[in-house]
């Protein structure tokens, strides 16, 4: 149970190391820290609906439910769209991470080399499969959380919580609408529904999902508040990676300063786990569509496609304004409504299946 919790939490919170703080602060100003809580509440509602759907088909995972409700052809088409989306998500996330790495830490290293190194590890993780990814996630989860907490604690001398004012940011309406769109920042919780059969029943599914969303919401909110408190919304919306800057300002003496490089470990750990998990889900979704039992022969083509997606955006501006906006804003119109529609169809058509397990 804890392993699945660690995996999904890492997949959700990894965005905090990327441009998520920048875009959120830019769009909602000083209200960013609670806008994400609005998104979190929205994500919990979405998760509740997801739970209701799985409850109707207790011994099935999300894709099996799709098939049971919508039939083979339609469900496979939807799963294929999900697979493409997850693959795109993998590529854009990787591109975002590598670009930030190049900007802050390794400006002279070619992007291709960084991507190739990263993809090598992703290939190994995906080759081993879900069990390996989940176990690595659990082992490194504590390190990631410790690193994150350390950054926040060590930067305390630079916080001025007056910078969180005005409390309403750009207005409640903006916060609410952006909050709704940012539900997509939490939509990775759907992974739990896809791997539901690997969990020990729906009771654990519910518990893990809620814990993940609440933890992620708390982490996002605290990190955004700390970034705002340290840099104000003006500078906060200018830094590409707010968390990296937060670690950069840590200064205790001439001996203990500029320690941001050490936090690279935390970022890489989190990024590798998050991206390889989504990559594996994309791969396994594709295998489901075409009833392929062994995912390993498909590793090379999928790695190649991810490599291609990584080089789709040509610069950081394009990443932020187009692709990140798509996967952390408008993807809410893809990931969220499909299960809800399936739930509605199953209710209307009165479809149910299996006996409840662990509920």
């Amino acid at each position: 149970m804890l392993e699945a919790y660690a995996l999904v939490t890492i997949v959700i919170i990894t965005k905090i190391f990327y441009t998520f703080p920048l875009t959120t602060i830019k769009q909602t100003g000083t209200a960013a820290w609670y806008t994400t809580l609005i998104s979190c509440v929205g994500a919990i509602v979405f998760f509740a609906l997801l739970y209701l759907l799985l409850q109707r088909f207790p011994q099935k995972d999300l894709y099996q439910v799709f098939e049971a409700v919508l039939g083979k052809k339609v469900s496979r088409f939807i799963i294929l769209i999900f697979s493409v989306y997850f693959l795109y998500y993998t590529g854009i996330n990787l591109s975002e991470f590598v670009t930030i790495l190049k900007i802050y830490s390794m400006p002279f290293t070619p992007k291709e080399v960084l991507v190739a190194g990263f993809l090598t590890v992703i290939a190994a993780m995906a080759y081993v499969g879900l069990e390996g990814i989940v176990r690595v996630a659990y082992v490194l989860f504590y390190l990631i959380i410790t690193g994150l907490v350390l950054i926040l604690i060590l930067a305390i001398p630079f916080y001025d919580f007056n910078s969180l004012k005005p409390w309403l940011g750009y207005g409640l309406g903006v916060s609410a609408s952006e909050g709704f769109l940012k539900i997509s920042a939490y939509d990775s919780v759907i992974i739990l529904a896809i791997i539901a059969n690997s969990l020990q029943g729906l009771k654990y599914f519910k518990r893990i999902g809620l814990s993940c969303l609440l933890t992620a919401g708390a982490i996002f909110s605290i990190c955004l508040a700390c970034i705002l408190a340290a840099f104000q919304y003006t500078a906060g919306s200018g830094y590409i990676s707010g968390m990296y800057h937060l670690s950069r300002i840590i200064y205790y003496s001439r001996f203990f300063q500029r320690v941001e490089a050490i936090f690279l470990f935390v970022w890489v750990f989190a990024s590798v786990i998050a991206i390889s998990a989504v990559f594996y889900i994309a791969l396994s979704s594709y295998c489901r569509v075409f009833s392929i039992t062994n995912h390993r022969p498909l590793l090379w083509p999928f790695l190649f496609l991810t490599f291609a997606f990584t080089f789709l955006p040509s610069n950081i501006y394009e990443i932020i304004s187009v692709h990140v906006r798509l996967i952390r804003g408008y993807s809410v119109f893809l990931i969220v409504p499909v299960p809800i529609l399936v739930l509605l169809v199953s209710i209307i058509r009165g479809k149910k299946g299996g006996k409840a397990s662990g509920t």
Partner: protein, 615 residues
């Protein structure tokens, strides 16, 4: 037989140039040649059969046995254990060699019964002697001693044993003397009535009717006794070869705790264990490994405590090793481990009986190979490899602190050179200014890039270590230390490496030595170079990627079905002597990941005197 249909010319040409597999493996002949040869063979078979009948009976029997042995070998080599169709063996004489020609398939049961019959001990001295002589290649082989005897009742007999493998006093005093002096039982003249077991005075005897088993016992150092007319051979325990005594451990030295180590003798090793665990449930099972060496291997476990699935798995692996020769625990380890490509060992090696006993008491299985002083323990986890034999002898807080030091040493030994390289090459900003200036100053006159410096020093260190092991005695260690000092000093003076690097390499080497497990330390040595490469190419990013790969490798390792990273991945119940060592009286449970049948090590209150009033 139906007549062959006429074939068209193309078909015949194709047949002419095509090769056809014959009954002789690995040879291919043209079909026409094959037909001619088979006719010749049939003729020679008939001749051979008539000649064969004239060969004296005992000679024929021994040859037949050899043939049966050959046949047995042939069938045993069939992959998957499936028996081929057995063919009735027809003997062809060709320059003294014999070869089988398929004629008529025999049923498997018939083949088996024929083989069993041929392996039986014969009822006359000459035949049995002949078999033994042939089996041991006498007279070329001078090791087999055959002592002919004539009993007081005029019956012929013999003793057979391997020179140097037996205790001759036992043979002279407790086998030969009683045999030559026995009278009572021989008076009847009924040879079947002679109870040899009652005459010889050795502590263990066996009556064997299978000649192969007799040979196996002689090879172990036992003595075979046979008297004419008997249909069995008596095996008397006379093992008595030279062996090393119980000495102090060489690689697992402790300050507090027992000072005994295993030796090369299997029986001594098992005795050492039995002396510590005086429990009737301590079970020892024997296996023979090595088709040619027949090395004896024992597994020792505590029945009723150990997980039976682990025992079954150990037995399955040991029973299914097909190799000619095994001489060391390392070889056996390689043959039975789960992940042979892993850099980290998944089997614990120890030379200490106390550690082995403690492992058995936790629900593990010990594998002891004859001829090696190292015992293998399975299943193990990474945490078990970080334990030392002294842990149990020290106070709990000292042990816990030491274990923390070892985990730090593990991290330093893998990461430090790569970290230094990444830091000085990619992430200078992290180094405090004063230190950065000091490093830069020290490197000022060094012409090589840091990666070359690191590799040179690491390689030098490995060379010194390897040379130190090869140089005999205490000189080796001394030379190693002096060599390192002189080399380091000279390298710094010659501006080949910077002094900071000497510190880094020395720290890494020390950390490597701090690891309690020799095989683990080896794995770490190799991994270090991978991390150096990763740090040199991609800085901290590379190191982090390598760390993820290492974690992935570790979480996927298994030791006889038990995950190598148990208690963390997968998460199992925390024990009180796994990472941290709690006081002994708090260690009520055995490790959960081993799934022992009896998980309770001791009652909840081990120190029951604390519940009593002082007198």
């Amino acid at each position: 037989m139906s007549e062959k249909k006429p074939k068209n010319i193309i078909w015949q040409m194709l047949e002419l140039i095509s090769y056809k597999k014959t009954s002789r493996p690995k040879t291919f002949i043209l079909p026409e040649m094959d037909e001619q040869q088979s006719k010749q063979r049939q003729e020679s078979n008939k001749r051979q059969e008539s000649e064969q009948q004239q060969i004296p009976e005992n000679r024929q029997q021994s040859k037949g046995r050899n043939q049966a042995d050959e046949q047995a070998k042939d069938t045993s080599q069939i992959p998957g254990g499936q028996e081929q169709k057995h063919t009735q063996a027809m003997v062809v004489e060709r320059a003294g060699q014999r070869r089988r020609i398929p004629k008529k398939p025999l049923a498997a049961s018939e083949v088996k019964s024929a083989r069993v019959e041929k392996d039986q001990v014969k009822t006359d001295v000459n035949s049995n002697l002949q078999v033994l002589r042939q089996a041991f290649h006498v007279p070329e082989n001078k090791d087999l001693i055959i002592r002919d005897i004539i009993l007081p009742n005029k019956k012929r007999g013999f003793l057979a044993f391997l020179d140097g493998m037996v205790n001759k006093i036992i043979i002279n005093e407790y086998i030969l003397r009683p045999l030559l002096e026995q009278e009572a039982t021989s008076q009847s003249g009924n040879t079947k009535g002679i109870a040899l077991e009652d005459i010889v005075l050795t502590n263990d005897t066996q009556s064997l009717k299978n000649i192969n088993e007799v040979i196996s016992e002689i090879l172990k150092g036992n003595t075979a006794v046979y008297v004419d007319g008997l249909d069995y051979i008596l095996i008397c325990e006379t093992i008595g070869f030279e062996k090393r005594g119980v000495e102090t451990p060489k690689t697992e030295i402790v300050v507090k705790g027992p000072q005994e180590a295993f030796s090369e003798n299997l029986r001594t090793n098992i005795t050492l264990l039995r002396r510590i665990i005086r429990n009737r449930d301590l079970v020892t099972e024997f296996f023979e490994i090595g088709e040619k060496s027949s090395t004896v291997c024992a597994i020792v476990y505590l029945q009723g405590l150990v997980n039976p699935l682990v025992v079954r798995e150990v037995k399955r692996r040991l029973e299914n090793i097909k190799i000619d020769f095994v001489v060391s625990a390392g070889m056996l380890e390689e043959l039975i481990e789960d992940n042979p490509y892993s850099l980290f060992p998944t089997i614990l090696n120890t030379e200490r009986p106390d550690r082995t006993a403690a492992s058995i008491m936790e629900g593990r299985v010990a594998i002891i190979l004859d001829g090696t002083p190292i015992v293998l323990i399975v299943p193990v986890t990474l945490n078990a490899l970080m334990h030392s034999s002294e842990d149990a002898a020290l106070k709990w807080h000292n042990t816990t602190a030491l274990r923390m030091v070892r985990f730090c040493a593990f991290a330093i030994a893998i990461l430090l050179p790569g970290f230094y390289l990444a830091l000085t090459t990619y992430h200078h900003e992290m180094i405090p200014t004063e230190l950065l200036i000091a490093i830069a100053k020290a490197k000022e006159n060094v012409p090589f890039p840091t990666i070359i410096e690191v590799l040179l020093m690491e390689l030098g260190f490995e060379l010194i270590r390897e040379a130190g092991i090869r140089i005999p005695g205490i000189v080796g260690n001394t030379l190693g230390i002096i060599g390192a000092l002189i080399l380091g000093e000279a390298a710094v003076s010659a501006n080949i490496v910077s002094p900071v690097l000497i510190i880094i390499v020395a720290l890494t080497g020390l950390s490597n030595f701090a690891l309690p497990n020799y095989s683990l330390a080896f794995g770490v040595r190799i991994l270090r170079f991978c991390f150096i490469f990763a740090g040199a190419v991609l800085g901290f990013f590379g190191l982090a990627l390598a760390a993820v790969l290492l974690t992935l490798m570790l979480v996927n390792l298994k030791s006889f079905g038990v995950p190598f990273m148990s208690i963390v991945a997968p998460r199992t119940k925390r024990g009180k002597d796994i990472v941290l060592r709690w006081p002994l009286w708090m260690q009520e449970k055995r490790p959960d990941f081993l799934n022992p049948l009896d998980s309770q090590r001791q009652p909840e209150i081990a120190r029951q005197w604390t519940q009593q009033d002082p007198e």
